[in-house]
Symmetry: C2
Subunit: 546 residues, 2 copies
């Protein structure tokens, strides 16, 4: 066991023999996100920034070092490596089963949209137009009519909805697609969180009545909350968006909002929109009632994106790298066996076989387990490597463990001595399953505690200003757009000053409403808006947000 | 049972009361594929063309009437409705499990590619350049550097492969992605078969040795053959593409070729390419051997697309509509109960409950079953509706069946009296499972028989010419590109003449090699090329192809 304490030293030692590692130690310092000739990272030691000291550099290092992301030579676009894509597949599997059980069907609509269709709903197009990418050429010929790439598919799907929906028997119509979308934003990109191309699902429903539509809005929002809380172990706050922040062209938007304690930023985690009848009016989507009357349908749209992976990393990751909740971890437990120079060849062989047998038993028990049988790395290096990749549970097996028919469980989410314990071989399946459940619950619990400690209730502008940095602020509000714009103006950072302080543009920004939480405290009759002093109509949650 | 014989009459009768159906009967005749204000199809009677008489109109009707496809206002793009997408999900599930078990991992690379990367491999870019769609604008601003949309992802992935692969321990690297791709073709589009945007998977592997790469090429080709034969019940011929027909920039291409007996066209069903070292040379993908030497990797790429769904429709469909093989059918069996004016209200209720119970039993047995409880349609209409949508097995339950505790099984693939039989309730699970397996096997067997009857072996040009129309032709060949070009020239259709005969452009075209089948007859020592008379080196399969 002494060996483990030397893991850092050993790894440093190994570095001196592996020149490419040294290179990796420094790539984090290069200014441009796309680093030419970047060498493959093979060491567990490349996280040099601290999460609490330089969050944005820490994030950039973690996503590359853990092999989630690689940079790409088209700005704002990133490569989702197998680890990241596998997490996305698990999110897909969970959510897809839920929406299918609820009656939603998957389909696929073209990613190109004609100008005519795109511009049909005025508010909608105003919300998206500046970010729309246009294809104007094929080969060397100009297209007669340029086509846009979907930033979202309302205008692509709804002409078809107008054809398909004739009578009330065609309702509800509830379709979903898993696709890529493009929003050519000019804000500073952040992998997963804000990228020009991203993956998502978008659901689009049509109902005969507003009641049915509103019921679905909340049903879907609940699935989104469960993706975050049950799978990703990230607590979210459900609420409604302000008029200023709602989906362009919709009636109202509901949202689940997450929070990144390390940098005090909120993040819109997923949204479920009631579109009302704005789109059905513009696209002519109506049905004939039994009495022969024609009525416009009520519509919703709702989406969850690969941003969710970014939130997960930002919330749980630590200075050693990624920390994955067991339910989304592609590898839930890794078995690392080790020996020293005194271990006999026969014992090494027994260790190897024991590790393999335990791995097979755990896999047979339904766990996702890997046995690290790489002979050319020392245990310290291996430990750091798996920690960096966020594997929730490490199962250690050394010569003494072999004699005692036991292993040591080491929790990724608790690196203190309390995170380690000895487990007898015969109980390994049961104990591993339990440990993973404990880790999953502990991650959510810890994230919730940290998030809650960053919510401040205020009632005046002075209190609001004092509380804003690093927190979400709950304040009685008048709900007027002009008032939200006033808050934005008054909290706008001095750009020069921020630049001098070295803060990345993506992390600055004014305060805005995150949501009007569904879970509202009783608002006193005479409550005043914290900003303008007029009558307050609801508590709103404010913050600086991605 | 008499009722069923009147189904046609009944449906016609129902039409006179449902004016929108009448409309549907005529939309097939409209010349343009995108029909504005097209009404929802709700009848089983909208297939007016015969498969053997006017194949291309028949195909257009079937895909719309069965609700697989809807047209779209961007030329060459189509909407994959839930029925089509569900089939695609089943293909994905089957193939994804196979490649993952083999060690391939899924990832996601950006869909945009810079000009520099796209143009790196000369032959490759020449093969794709005319079809590449370019994004040149975002909102109203011109991009500084236009970006292309992936027609395939070799040039997107391989710069990353060059960074990730350093030593032999990084090999093999085997990644796959499920995505959309864009090839802005100007040939006449055909839904599923040739579209400007389509869905596919693309696998990209790198190996240390040619042997390993070549082994994977065949492994993947075998999975593709199994997708077609085991899932889609479509027989395919495995072989190697000629130099002229191989993948642009690759070393050689292997293929599975399918055949559409109804119009005598072959269709490239899926391809698995050995890229050799062309790309690794251009992109600098090399590894260090144990002795410190740097060696270029050997690469493969391989893809299967939504074209597979088109092949399935073309091979199995008939004059009543779609015929789905049970393994990919979203609904494998439909229970239709019916009664007549003399049936008592109590018996109607018993029928309804019996149908529901049988449905639940079949679902509990793992079958995908729907009970048609629509009260407002007559049985004839329902039968035609499910036939049109291709449901493999119809389970009929009438008043007499209720008394006898039996149902009638009606096979979609055999509409003769032989396709019907009586099954006792207590045996329904076992019998339904068996019936579906029988249908699956019968579809493949029938398709194979028909396909085989369209293969002609020839040895001279005269024989070749005589055999070409409607067949695949096997001929001894010299394998020279110039000879293939000569065949192309000599079999080029007279365009004017074809146009006058009303044949759609997609269905014309010159003869080309489909493949050099792996399964080669012994070639006599003195065999001569059927076209140029020079020494023949292999049998090649020729045909007119999509």
């Amino acid at each position: 066991m002494v060996l483990k304490r030397f893991s850092l030293l050993l790894t440093l030692f190994s570095l001196s023999f592996r020149s490419r590692h040294v290179h990796v130690l420094f790539i984090g310092f290069l200014p441009h996100p796309y680093r030419k000739n970047q060498k493959k990272k093979e060491t567990g030691l490349s996280i040099s920034y601290k999460k609490m000291e330089n969050f944005s550099e820490w994030y950039s290092q973690v996503i590359v070092a853990s092999e989630l992301i690689d940079y790409y030579d088209v700005s704002g676009c990133y490569i989702l490596r197998p680890l990241a894509y596998n997490i996305w597949e698990r999110i897909q599997e969970f959510l897809d089963a839920k929406i299918k059980a609820s009656g939603v069907k998957n389909a696929y609509f073209p990613m190109f949209v004609s100008r005519g269709a795109l511009e049909k709903e005025k508010e909608h197009v105003e919300g998206f137009a500046p970010e729309v990418a246009w294809v104007t050429r094929s080969g060397s010929s100009e297209l007669q009519e340029p086509v846009a790439i979907r930033p979202t598919s309302e205008t692509i799907m709804y002409p078809a909805y107008a054809r398909w929906i004739r009578g009330h028997r065609d309702l509800p119509l509830r379709l979903n697609q898993w696709t890529n979308v493009v929003r050519w934003e000019f804000k500073h990109p952040t992998p997963f969180i804000r990228t020009r191309e991203f993956l998502w699902q978008e659901g689009h429903s049509a109902f005969a009545t507003k009641e049915e539509a509103e019921k679905e809005v909340l049903e879907i929002l609940d699935y989104y909350a469960r993706v975050y809380e049950e799978l990703l172990a990230v607590p979210v706050i459900k609420g409604r968006k302000s008029e200023k922040e709602k989906f362009a062209g919709g009636l109202y938007t509901t949202t689940v909002e997450a929070f990144i304690p390390a940098n005090g930023r909120a993040v819109q985690a997923a949204t479920s929109h009631c579109l009302g009848q704005n789109f059905s009016r513009m696209f002519g989507i109506s049905y004939e009632t039994d009495s022969g009357e024609r009525k416009l349908v009520w519509q919703n749209s709702w989406g969850l994106t690969t941003r969710s992976i970014g939130v997960l990393i930002m919330v749980h990751g630590d200075d050693r790298g990624l920390v994955l909740p067991p339910r989304v971890a592609p590898i839930q437990a890794v078995i690392v066996y080790f020996h020293n120079s005194k271990t006999s060849e026969a014992d090494v062989d027994r260790l190897r076989r024991a590790a393999r047998d335990l791995g097979e038993r755990l896999r047979a028990a339904g766990l996702r387990v890997e046995v690290d049988s790489r002979e050319n790395y020392n245990p310290g290096w291996k430990f750091a490597d798996w920690e960096q990749k966020g594997v929730p549970l490490r199962i250690e097996l050394g010569p003494r463990d072999l004699d005692a028919q036991q292993v040591v469980f080491a929790r990724r989410d608790d690196l203190t001595p309390a995170g380690k314990r000895t487990v007898a071989w015969e109980k390994i399946e049961e104990e591993a399953r339990e440990a993973l459940e404990t880790i999953q619950a502990a991650l959510l619990e810890k994230a919730r505690r940290e998030r809650d400690s960053h919510i401040r209730a205020v009632s005046t502008w002075a209190e609001f200003q004092a509380a804003l940095d690093g927190n979400m602020v709950l304040a009685p509000w008048c709900e007027r757009i002009e008032c939200e714009e006033e808050v934005k103006r008054r909290t706008a950072p001095d750009t020069k000053e921020k630049k001098a302080a070295g803060e990345a543009p993506a992390l600055s920004g004014s305060a805005k409403t995150l949501c009007l939480p569904f879970n509202q405290e009783h608002l006193p009759e005479d409550a005043k808006c914290f900003c303008c002093g007029e009558k307050a109509t609801a508590f709103a949650l404010w913050g600086r947000s991605y």
